[in-house]
Amino acid sequence: MKNINGKTVLTLGVIAFTLILAFILNGALDSYVRRILNLCAIYAIISLSLNLVNGFTGMFSLGQAGFMAIGAYAVAIFTVPAELRASGFYLEPMMPLLANIELPLIAALLLGGLLAALVAFVIGFPVLRLRGDYLAIATLGFSEIIRILFTNMQSVTNGALGIKNVPQLSNMFLIYLAAVITIALLHLLLTSSYGRALKAIREDEIVAEAMGINLLKHKLAAFVISAFFAGVGGGLYGALLGTVDPKNFIFTLTYNFVLIIVLGGLGSISGTVIASFIITIGMEWLRFFDEPLKLFGIEILIFRPGLRMVVFSVLLMVIVLFFQKGIMGQREISFDMLRRIPLRFGKRREDR
């Protein structure tokens, strides 16, 4: 019992430390660095949501960009001050029903999450009954359909013009708070009996079912919860960008999150968080690949927009081929593990 309390205190300490750090850095960092660090946290939220489905439950979804779009548009539509909307919607005025509804950011984020969850339910209910990996195809299709839908719902989304003037969110404290809440809730879910059921489904569906686990119910729950967090993450993403338009949510966006969870470890929360930082910062750093490069006065032809994605794809293949388990595999960083590190090195030496 004492041990559990000690761990709880330690956990709360780490959470408090993270939030205080975010609060302090928020004032200390310049806006460029702050933006990247905020993006890391948002990517962590979305990657965790994907890992719940792909890593912990053993399904294969590629719909994150679509769920993000729903969340981002919920924020964009409802948080832009009503008086600024008319100037943006100049091709076709905003639907009167929506034109005057303004929501605070938190409410819009939750609304976005709930709408994404609802859509996930509608997609998941028929698809998850089927045996086999139909989810990947269905979610990929969904995320393209939702983008095309948003491009064409002129009076709701302002179509291809997108919605500008979204009140920008750059407060690190708030974004990190959202990430911490996401991590905490997913941790509680995954360490519960429901979490064990999801892992059982990942390990062997047939056995899980023979142990009395209702496959449809549990897969659907994981998928819907995943969509909720992707929706919230998408809302934060929209608020961070300040402009939301359909081009932001092309399905290749989802590849970033696939890369993150594969690198971090399918089935590891801590791995996902670590990989979110590595990939997001790496992506920023690799920007030079997309810019023309001259070496000794000769233009290197392959340095052009898109090369960054090539580099990332190669990275993904290297991970899949040589480090299947990613950084963490299915393990988590825990206090017990940190305590054991010195022991472990000792043991290794003995082994030799």
Binding site: L185, L188, L189, S192, S193, Y194, R196, A197, K199, A200, E203, D204, I206, V207, A208, E209, A210, M211, G212, I213, N214, L215, A221, Q330
Partner: protein, 256 residues
């Protein structure tokens, strides 16, 4: 009758894997299905547990029709099984394997399980009960010393035992064992026989098993069904079966 099948039939394309099987399994006791390879024994189990929907006939469990119900619903009703080729959750520990099978008894909903607020959510109390029951079960079956070992690291015989433990964690009334002695030497088989009897007595359940080890079958089962090419060719007490010419010829015939 705890389990009854009426003309249970399974066709795969042109192959009739099980042909009008009529089982009558009374409560309590150990019953066996034997027969040469490909006789349709596992297919019968798969239909009873809902893994396959029969192409004909009906299945009654405690006089309720469970034909073609979902596997999880059938397990909830009280039938648990093991698999011919051991199917543990390989990456999970012994403890995790067993406690996972407690999930079907969970009453807390997902929100209660996530927001485990003491006094409001019943989840923590349920979880404690599951953990206690799991540890008791492991203790009873002699698996406690490897409680936290990854299940795939266990020796073969213990993996079989663990699979039985996991099935027992669902608290079944009827336990189906598909070749529990496969790959065991005579001494291990003998131990398994005692183990199965103990399980039957301590957990007060009915056991239906598929087995090729004749000594085991003759030793512990009170009634035997013999299948060949999907057809139930003989049934009776061990002594009757042993001398039945149809049974002998089925086994000899498949021995080529």
């Amino acid at each position: 009758m705890i389990l009854r099948t009426e003309n249970l039939t399974m066709r795969f394309g042109g192959v009739t894997a099980v042909d009008s099987l009529n089982l009558n399994v009374p409560e309590g006791g150990v019953f066996a299905i034997i027969g040469p390879n490909g006789a349709g024994k596992t297919t019968a189990f798969n239909m009873i547990t809902g893994a396959y929907a029969p192409t004909g006939g009906r299945i009654f469990f405690e006089d309720k029709d469970i034909t073609a119900r979902r596997p999880d619903a059938i397990t909830k009703a009280g039938i648990a099984r093991t698999f011919q080729n051991i199917r543990l959750f390989k990456d999970l520990t012994v403890f995790e394997n067993v406690i996972t099978a407690k999930h079907l008894h969970l009453k807390s909903n997902l929100l209660q399980a996530v927001f485990r607020i003491p006094g409001i959510s019943p989840y923590s109390a349920e979880e404690r009960t599951f953990r206690r029951q799991t540890d008791e079960l492991l203790e009873k079956l002699g698996l406690s010393d490897q409680r936290d070992a990854i299940s795939s690291s266990l020796p073969y015989g213990r993996q079989r035992k663990l699979e039985i433990a996991r099935a027992l964690a669902t608290e079944p009334k009827l336990l189906l064992l598909d070749e529990p002695a496969a790959g065991m030497n005579p001494q291990e088989t003998e131990e398994l026989a005692r183990f199965i009897e103990r399980v039957r007595n301590e957990f007060r359940l009915t056991i239906l098993l598929i087995e090729h080890h004749m000594d085991l079958v003759m030793d512990i089962s009170e009634y035997i069904y013999v299948m060949d090419f999907g057809v139930n060719i003989a049934r009776g007490a061990p002594a009757e079966i042993q001398g039945d010419p149809k049974v002998i010829s089925a086994y000899l015939g498949s021995g080529e």
